[in-house]
Symmetry: C2
Subunit: 297 residues, 2 copies
């Protein structure tokens, strides 16, 4: 389950609540594209902004409509207590795996993060992917801590934040982390602009934001890399440079893919929880022009 293309859909919502019909539409697109797994309630799925009840509903809807494709559910929360509740509910709803980031308000220490993963894996019956995202959690994993957590039972993958741009440096970085972790634990790259480089450098998975909204585009890169065609994967990714530039200029991928889904009519506008705003004005026009030029849909 923690290999190939894991597509992370938005959780479209407004101030009234989750837009369930739009969410199901997004899931159905991923099923039609035949992605390798569906990662709901990642950062792209705005897990941190939803109530416990809304999160349980997202997992249930995804499982109901995902067919044979495994659903991985984000269970991150500020409190260990809430993480344990979310893990239980995700399992009850039929999630095949869970994804856990050490979300923080007070910056966490390594022993606190280890304690969180220890308590969670103790309680789990499905496998877990460690979600390393310093940009949103404020927590920076060392490779040593990754190694300690990866040896806990149920840990099956690590979602890492990007890799160096240089192919040799990327391979070295993946290799260094690989030395610290058991061989059954896969590595998955995130930061879509780095995905081709990460897959070419030996990551077994791509935890993908654009996979949630442009699944065919993300699959083409993934399949090229999996077939050993590193050059083609790189070329397909470099073609998307204007999209990566939009991510860079708009605080990351979330606001851009939200606007992309709005522009495609897949979700209503706005689809992000306030105070977050998707692109407007010139940024939105630039995105529309980019989507047309790159034939993204």
């Amino acid at each position: 389950m923690f290999t190939g293309l894991s597509a992370f859909p938005l959780s479209p919502m407004n101030e009234g609540g989750l837009d369930e019909r739009a969410f199901v539409r997004l899931i159905e697109r991923l099923v039609a594209a035949d992605v390798d797994s569906i990662g709901v309630l990642g950062s792209t799925g705005n897990y941190a902004y939803l109530t416990m009840a809304e999160r349980a509903r997202v997992v249930a809807l995804a499982v109901e409509h995902a067919g044979k494709i495994p659903v991985i559910a984000g269970i991150g929360a500020l409190r260990t207590r809430d993480v344990l509740t979310l893990a239980e509910k995700a399992q009850a709803a039929g999630a095949s795996g869970v994804l856990l980031a050490p979300m923080s308000y007070q910056k966490l220490f390594a022993d606190e993060v280890y304690g969180l993963f220890e308590a969670t894996t103790d309680a789990l019956s499905v496998p877990l992917c460690v979600y390393d995202n310093p940009g949103t959690t404020q927590f920076v994993f060392t490779d040593e801590l990754h190694g300690q957590i990866a040896r806990l039972p149920k840990v099956a993958s690590i979602k890492i934040p990007g890799v160096p741009v240089e192919p040799e440096a990327a391979r070295a970085r993946v290799g260094r982390l690989r030395e610290q972790i058991p061989s059954h634990v896969t590595l998955g790259v995130s930061g879509d602009a780095f995905a081709a480089t990460g897959l070419n450098a030996g990551c077994e998975a791509w935890y993908s934001v654009i996979g949630g909204v442009f699944p065919a585009t993300a699959l083409a890169i993934t399949r090229a890399a999996q077939a050993g065609n590193a050059e083609q994967a790189t070329r397909l990714s470099e073609r998307l440079a204007p999209l990566w530039a939009l991510f860079r200029d708009n605080g990351g991928s979330l606001r851009v893919v939200a606007a992309a889904a709005e522009l495609q009519g897949l979700v209503e506008s706005p689809c992000l929880p306030q105070p977050l705003k998707s692109l407007s004005g010139e940024g939105r026009q630039r995105l529309a022009a980019t989507m047309e030029a790159l034939d993204l849909a």
Copy 2:
């Protein structure tokens, strides 16, 4: 209300819930010490870790036991929707003012933060203090944005994160911000190690962590500065240097004051929500020795 010593108590809790008896004890100590205001559900009050219902209960208990001392309630949340609900509940429970930090998971842009404060102040009937805490919110205010937000109705104070150590530089920093904001908006310093310098530099308030657990100590510094006795305020603060060093070495003040309250028997141990841990081992021994040497109680 947004002047003098505003004392920020812990919200003692365990995995089962809030320890209401211990919380009331902390409030009663602040009333006995006669602090100028009580700031519940600040970062020290672990607002981000509590449910909406628990937060309403904290405000109600504080108001019930605070007597004539005004209660300021933290209403920060990731979603504007939740901030508005918390504002309504805090007002209904009798809070005299509210405190709002632009809490984030996705880093926020300035226009998103402005939108949050605009929506909130539109709905408020009590005054609001802007809570500027980049260490926990990941958002850095510019003075220009402070000026724009301070001109919104209901904004009455800004809780700023420390000031430069040098008295002249501190005065210049406070002066620059003061130029941007209306004269009815007060400035309050936080970061306890900087409090004497901030008060001496012209801040009207100290939003104080140690005020919540050592109120007499914090009041002595505040009253000296308010009386124009800058040297005495500085001397009283410098005496606490071993405490400021403990804050520096333990990721800030929260884990230290939690352990201090545990050591005094004011709260049960542990009193922080997992995965957070208060001090243990050598750190805890060092705190106990510091409290004894400085006669803190």
